[in-house]
Symmetry: C2
Subunit: 459 residues, 2 copies
């Protein structure tokens, strides 16, 4: 591993920011492959559902209460909420709500939730300004790609250091996306990236607190501001990513800039994006999935279940080994609860992680009859489940990859189901149908802001 102290840039490294900025400025939507475009639609659909799903949570309520009185002209809708805000503040709330349940998309290459900061700025902007669906769509793809590539260049050292990568690279993605919508020329796009990097922040110490979802929110807002400042000539350093005192050298013990500059316009990280089917810690997803499959295949009589035996990768018990629990939040990190909701309900949505569900007598009985042992030969995404029955032979299922893994992506229909489940909290079924339709057609809309407006609860 390179020494901590950054070494001066070599000539090969100079120009990384300019190369990235040039791609972003010159790219044309027509040159982006269709499979990438479809994945972008899926990312945006999932994003909007997650933003609505988190919009009523405590941290969002607090932030609205605090920020509301400072809002400028309320030209922007806030996803899933009735209040309007100025677009800079709306982008903060959109980011906070969309990451609140940690239920948004993940790019396993660098473990960032890149859509949240980028789309949060874009929908706030599009609600307050005349922007076509096509322009927003293109800006999203480019902002996502720019941020994710910067993330790849410093992953994993950057993450291991303690940075919440969603916050640190998200601000770059938001600046690029808004900068693209504003049509920034090359020099100004570099400054936008520069003023973004110099606001790059977010510590993993915040995990488990409201500070975690605050990161994409503040990143969306800071990146948006960076683009507007750069547009008007507010200068920054000219080598913001690659300089010896720039983003990569300061925020990571090592970096590989070829991951930013190689294959631009050919390789797209959106292809590697994944979507969570379950609103819980990711390491218990295989257990929820396997138990749901057993329930579906065997029409299980729950009173016949004597005990459940899980064999899991070691990380699962390191992180989620709590059996006797009382709150929904604890349920998100209990592999025993995962088995119970899979067998009893066949799903793991927001409703499976409420205090009420955790204290449901039947769920509780199955949970407390579940046992788990670690097997170091299992991959993190694998599980073996054995359901022992009073009436006969045990049912056994061995799973290599959980639903939602890059090898078993959620289908479009499953993404819609997830969307419905979250949106139902705040929208009517008719509104949900309309909104899902708008998201799938985002790149054909005359006005992208229609999505943000349609995500506002009525009445």
């Amino acid at each position: 591993m390179p020494a901590r102290k950054p070494t001066p840039q070599t000539p090969d490294e100079a120009g990384v920011s300019e190369t990235l900025a040039r791609y972003v400025v010159e790219s044309r939507l027509a040159d982006i492959p269709d499979d990438v475009k479809h994945e972008a639609r899926r990312a945006l659909l999932n994003y909007v559902g997650c933003a609505i799903g988190g919009a009523g949570e405590e941290g969002v309520e607090i932030a609205m209460r605090v920020i509301g009185p400072f809002s400028g002209e309320r030209t922007s809708a806030v996803l899933g909420r009735r209040e309007r805000l100025d677009p800079l503040n709306a982008s903060l709330i959109n980011g906070l709500s969309s990451h609140y349940h940690d239920y948004d998309d993940t790019t396993p290459k660098n473990y960032s939730h890149t859509t949240s900061p980028v789309a949060s700025a874009l929908f706030a902007y599009a609600s307050a300004n005349a922007v076509s669906g096509q322009d927003l769509f293109e800006a999203f793809i480019l902002g996502f790609e720019a941020a994710s590539r910067v993330g790849n260049s410093v992953y994993p050292g950057h993450y291991d250091t303690g940075w919440h990568i969603t916050g640190t690279i998200g601000v770059i993605g938001a600046a690029v996306a808004i900068g693209r919508l504003r049509g920034l020329p090359l020099r100004n796009m570099i400054w936008a990236i520069g003023t973004a990097t110099t606001q790059s922040a977010g510590l993993r110490e915040q995990f488990g607190s409201m500070g975690k979802p605050f990161h994409p929110g503040r990143s969306a807002q800071s990146g948006y501001l960076a683009a507007l400042l750069a547009e008007q000539g507010f200068t920054s350093g000219n080598y913001p990513i690659e300089s010896p005192r720039g983003f990569a050298a300061v925020l990571s013990p090592s970096h590989d800039f070829s991951k930013i500059t190689d294959g631009l316009g050919v390789d797209f990280d959106l292809r590697e994006n994944t979507y969570k089917p379950y609103a819980s810690g990711i390491v218990i997803h295989p257990t929820i999935d396997a138990c749901s499959q057993i329930r579906a295949a065997h029409g299980l009589d729950l009173t016949d279940v004597e005990s459940v035996q899980l064999t899991v990768a070691p990380i699962v018990l390191d992180l989620c080994n709590k059996k006797f629990i009382a709150t929904g939040l604890e349920g998100k990190f209990s592999v025993y609860h995962a088995a119970a909701i899979g067998l009893v309900r066949g799903q793991g949505r927001l409703g499976e992680f409420t205090d009420e569900t955790v204290n449901d007598p039947e769920i509780r009985r199955i949970r407390e009859s579940t046992h788990a042992e670690r097997d170091a030969s299992l991959e993190d995404d694998a599980v073996i489940v054995e359901v022992r029955r009073k009436s006969g032979e045990p049912i056994r299922l061995s799973l290599d990859h959980a639903l939602g893994n890059i090898h078993r992506p959620l289908s479009d229909a499953q993404l819609e189901d997830k969307f419905r489940d979250q949106a139902r909290q705040h929208l009517t079924d008719g509104q949900i149908d309309d909104l899902i339709g708008l998201c799938w057609q985002v790149d054909t809309l005359d006005r992208a802001g229609r999505i943000a407006e349609a995500a506002v609860p009525k009445g």
Copy 2:
């Protein structure tokens, strides 16, 4: 030097944030020594002058143009400007203008300009809310102390890594100061510090661009927001400074937490604060000072000056070795220009670093007749000047410390002169007299916001 990867906190380290927060919450102004209070008044006077001095500069104009349309209710005055803004946005502009000329105070223990982010938030707050001078004064001393101590704990590794420490610790100082004004209890003060640390940012790559003064501006605003969020129950990690994924471990290769916790309430970093007499890079201050002394002592006839020979520390020529220059900005980093303005004008204020002054024929002749050589035996703050005359013996002066150094602090009267020189750009002499009076009496004012209002240009 410790390995880059943070090790888990030891029991001794846990509680650093709580110890600091407890001091801030429980401290009483009556327990703060008088010499510290006087230094706080000096810091605030100098700060207000610098904010007015920078208020008309290009980067401030751009930021006002960008931010203005997003302002909420315009309840806050902006130092040195006619427009009003909501207090969060006002704090950003105050920070930007007060650090714009790099003319604000410096704490040589950690090279941070701590007053700018802390006071920028406070004057914005005090302009929009009923706050007594005493409360603002106390909050300033505590915010300054908290930020500077956190800076000491990670200096110099943090700075050497490439962080602009004014930005990274300033956000903590602003959060503490506003949190104190809002009367946050201990738990919420820890969260305020937490939500500040997770916005901690600012890269040295920005030096030489508008990004540098942007750092204290954004820090002031982010810290202010952190305090308001924490007040309403927005949670953060509970060990924001000392956790293995917290501020110190993530943003510095090494740290010493005793520099935060030892001597709280007894030792104050305000005692080590310094004020620049010259609006230039600090390494050419000795040359300006020595040449000004020669001018004053010898009633120099400039036409008699044949040449000037400087002997300087190596760093001076590493950073400021440009003789043939055309702009004021270049003049700030030319040791030859430093000699010329000292001999011709006996000062180095904003007016000595304009394009016009740099191109003045007499200044130019002296500048281009000046030569410099390095001497590794000289301290950075020392210089030897020899003025060679046509008419007779050379004049020689050897200086160990420049004016403004901690060993030769500016007097109160000199601070007032510096204030007048800057404020004259935007305020009348009568206004300046009133404002200087208010600053010296800050801790007795019924309403601290009177200072911000008095710093607004009239007519």
